[in-house]
C-alpha cells in the first residue's frame, strides 16, 4: 500500500462500508472454518448425539487409511495431468490464434464460450456421450480395439474424467495465454523477427520466456480447478466410481461428511486440504514477489 495516497478523514464511515463483507465473512467463513477445525479433533457417535475430544485421532486414522492415501495420490496425478494437457493444448491454440490475421475474433468466441458451461453440465454431457445405450464414444473406442469400460475399469474411468476436465479447462487457459501473447509489445516481436528467422526457435527463445509468468500463474489456477471446481464434474460423471478410483480429496470430504456422515473424519480432511491450499497460496505469493523484480 502506498503511503502517498490521500485518505479521507477518520470517521465511522469505513466501518459502515466494510461491515456487510465482514459480517458475511464471519458468519459464513470463519464460523464454519472454525467448526471444521474443532470437529477434526472430535469423535461423534453415528447418531450425532454425543461427541468426545480425541486429539489427532482422526488425522491418524486418515493417514493410515490406504483408501485416503489412494485418493491423495489420484488427486495429485489427476491435477498434474489435467493442468499439463489443458495448458499445452490452450497454448498451442492461443499461439495459432495470435498468428493468424483473418477470423481471429470468431475463433476467439468459439474457443472461449465453453468456459460458461458448468462443470456439472460438462459432466452430464460427457455422461451421455460415453453412455452405452445412446452414446458414441464408448462404442467408438471398442471398435478401435480398446476394451473401454469406465463403469468397471478404474484406468478407463480416469482417462474419461481427465479428458472431460481438460476439455472444460481449455477456454480459461486460452483466454489468458492469448491475452499474454497480445501483451507482448509489437516492437519486441519485430526485433525478434529481425534477430531470429526460425519461427520455432523464436517461439521457444523469445515468446515462451515472456509468457512464463502467465503460464506459472495459470498453473496455480489449474491446480485449484482440478482440486475444487471439478466436484460437479465428478459427481455427475463417475461419482468416484469404480471403487473410489476417481475420487479426489474434495469429493471424499463430501462423501465422508454427507453421505457417510463421519463429521470428524471429513473435517480432518478439510483441514488437510486447507493446508494444501495454504501451501499453494504461499507458492503463488513467492512468485508474485519475484515478478515485481522484472
Amino acid at each position: 500500500m502506498s503511503d502517498k495516497r490521500q485518505r479521507l478523514p477518520h470517521s465511522p464511515v469505513p466501518y459502515l462500508f466494510i461491515a456487510p463483507q465482514i459480517l458475511i465473512v464471519l458468519i459464513f467463513f470463519f464460523w464454519p472454518a472454525a467448526q471444521a477445525l474443532y470437529l477434526s479433533f472430535m469423535l461423534e457417535d453415528p447418531w450425532g448425539l454425543s461427541s468426545q475430544f480425541v486429539g489427532f485421532e482422526n488425522y491418524r486414522i486418515l493417514f493410515n487409511d490406504p483408501e485416503y492415501l489412494g485418493t491423495f495420490v489420484f488427486t495429485m496425478v489427476y491435477s498434474a495431468l489435467v493442468s499439463f494437457f489443458s495448458l499445452a493444448i490452450a497454448l498451442l491454440l492461443a499461439v495459432k490464434a495470435n498468428n493468424i490475421v483473418r477470423g481471429q475474433s470468431p475463433y476467439r468466441v468459439l474457443l472461449t464460450w465453453v468456459y460458461a458451461i458448468a462443470p456439472a453440465v460438462a459432466g452430464i454431457t460427457a455422461y451421455f456421450i460415453f453412455n452405452r445405450q445412446v452414446g458414441v464414444l464408448s462404442g467408438l473406442f471398442n471398435d478401435l480395439g480398446w476394451d473401454f469400460a469406465p463403469e468397471t475399469d478404474g484406468f478407463d474411468a480416469s482417462v474419461m474424467l481427465i479428458l472431460v476436465s481438460v476439455w472444460k479447462q481449455i477456454p480459461v487457459n486460452f483466454v489468458f495465454f492469448l491475452a499474454g501473447l497480445q501483451g507482448i509489445p509489437k516492437s519486441i516481436r519485430e526485433a525478434a523477427h529481425i534477430d531470429c528467422e526460425n519461427p520455432q526457435r523464436r517461439f521457444w527463445t523469445i515468446t515462451f520466456p515472456l509468457l512464463a509468468p502467465t503460464a506459472f500463474f495459470l498453473l496455480v489456477i489449474n491446480v485449484t480447478y482440478a482440486f475444487f471446481e471439478t466436484f460437479g464434474l465428478i459427481d455427475t460423471l463417475t461419482q468416484g466410481r469404480p471403487g473410489g478410483s476417481t475420487t479426489t480429496l474434495v469429493y471424499k470430504v463430501y462423501q465422508d461428511g454427507f453421505l457417510g456422515a463421519d463429521l470428524g473424519l471429513s473435517s480432518a480432511q478439510s483441514v488437510v486440504l486447507m493446508l494444501l491450499v495454504l501451501a499453494l497460496t504461499v507458492v503463488q505469493f513467492r512468485f508474485i514477489e519475484r515478478k515485481i523484480h522484472y
Binding site: Y15, V25, V109, L110, V136, I170, F176, F217, F258, M274
Partner: protein, 280 residues
C-alpha cells in the same frame, strides 16, 4: 507475416471441433424422438421433433422431479446468478472503498480477515457451512443459496486493484468541491467503475448460475431447485434404469448452459476483461 498459414487454421479448427462437437451432438439429438435415440443412439443432424422437447422440458415436471419444472428451475438459477453477481458487486465495492480510501485502526486486520477467505473454498468447508446455514434456518431460501457464496473475496480484491488505479487527484478535487466520503463514492467512484462492474457482473453471473454443490445440499424443497443441480435428477432416473426421455433430458442440459453461454458470447469483451482482471 501478413498471410495466414493454412496449418494454423487447421489446428484452430480441430480445437474448435474438439470443444464444440459434444455440445452439437447433444443439441442435434435433443430434437429427435426418444425412440430414435434409443434405437440409433446420438444423432449428428437435427431431427423431426424440432424444439418440441424444449417446450416439454420447460413446462412439465419431466417425470424427473415432481414439482420442479424446467422453467421454475431456470427462474431459480436466474435469481441465483443475478442475486449472487449483484450482491457480490455491492458488498465488495463497499468493502474495497473502505480499504483503499480510509486509514482506520482495524484496516490491516480486516484486510487479512477478508484475504483468508481465498484460502478455503466452499467445497472444502461444505459440511460445517451446511450446519451454519441450517442453524440459521436458511435452508431452502434464496438468502441461504446466495449469501454464503458471497463470502469469498475475489471481487473485493478486484475492486481494490481498480480503485488504486484511480488518480488520487480526483479525490482531492472532489474534496475541494465539498464532496464528503459518501458523495465521492456515489458521484465519482461508482460511475467510474461502470465497465469494471459490467465485467465482474458477467463473470459472477456465470459463477453463480453454475453453482452445483451448494444448491445440491442446501435445497430439499424442489421449488428451490436450480437447473444445474436439477440435472442430477436426470441422472438418477437414468441410473435407476427407467426409460428416460432422452430428448427432454438433452433439452434440459442445453437450457442449463444457454444463459451463461449467451452472456459470455454477447459480452465477449467485458467477459475477457473480467476474467483476466478478476483472477489476478
Amino acid at each position: 507475416m501478413t498471410k495466414d498459414h493454412w496449418s494454423d487454421h487447421l489446428i484452430l479448427i480441430v480445437g474448435v471441433l474438439f470443444l464444440l462437437t459434444p455440445l452439437w451432438l447433444l443439441f442435434a439429438s435433443s430434437t429427435h424422438s426418444v425412440d430414435t435415440l434409443i434405437r440409433e443412439g446420438l444423432q449428428w443432424l437435427p431431427g423431426g421433433e424440432g424444439l418440441a422437447p424444449y417446450g416439454q422440458a420447460l413446462t412439465t415436471a419431466s417425470g424427473f422431479t415432481d414439482t420442479a419444472t424446467g422453467l421454475r428451475m431456470l427462474i431459480n438459477s436466474m435469481i441465483m446468478g443475478v442475486g449472487f453477481a449483484v450482491g457480490k458487486i455491492i458488498v465488495s465495492m463497499a468493502a474495497a472503498y473502505a480499504l483503499v480510501y480510509f486509514r482506520f485502526p482495524l484496516a490491516t486486520f480486516l484486510f487479512w480477515a477478508i484475504f483468508c477467505t481465498l484460502l478455503l473454498p466452499l467445497e472444502v468447508r461444505i459440511v460445517p457451512s451446511y450446519e451454519v446455514v441450517s442453524d440459521l434456518n436458511l435452508l431452502n431460501s434464496y438468502t441461504g443459496l446466495i449469501v454464503p457464496l458471497i463470502a469469498s473475496a475475489t471481487a473485493t480484491f478486484y475492486f481494490r486493484q481498480f480503485y488504486k488505479t484511480v488518480p488520487n487527484e480526483l479525490l482531492e478535487a472532489a474534496t475541494l468541491d465539498n464532496a464528503g466520503p459518501w458523495r465521492f463514492f456515489k458521484d465519482i467512484l461508482v460511475p467510474l467503475s461502470r465497465t469494471m462492474m459490467a465485467a465482474i457482473f458477467i463473470i459472477m453471473f456465470v459463477v453463480g448460475w453454475n453453482q452445483y454443490l451448494w444448491p445440491l445440499i442446501m435445497t430439499t424443497e424442489e421449488g428451490y431447485y436450480t437447473i444445474v443441480m436439477g440435472l442430477k435428477h436426470i441422472l438418477s432416473v437414468v441410473r435407476e434404469g427407467r426409460v428416460p426421455e432422452y430428448n427432454v433430458a438433452f433439452a434440459l442440459v442445453i437450457l442449463a448452459m444457454l444463459p451463461p453461454v449467451a452472456v459470455v458470447v454477447l459480452f465477449q469483451r467485458w467477459f475477457i476483461q473480467g476474467l483476466v482482471e478478476s483472477e489476478k
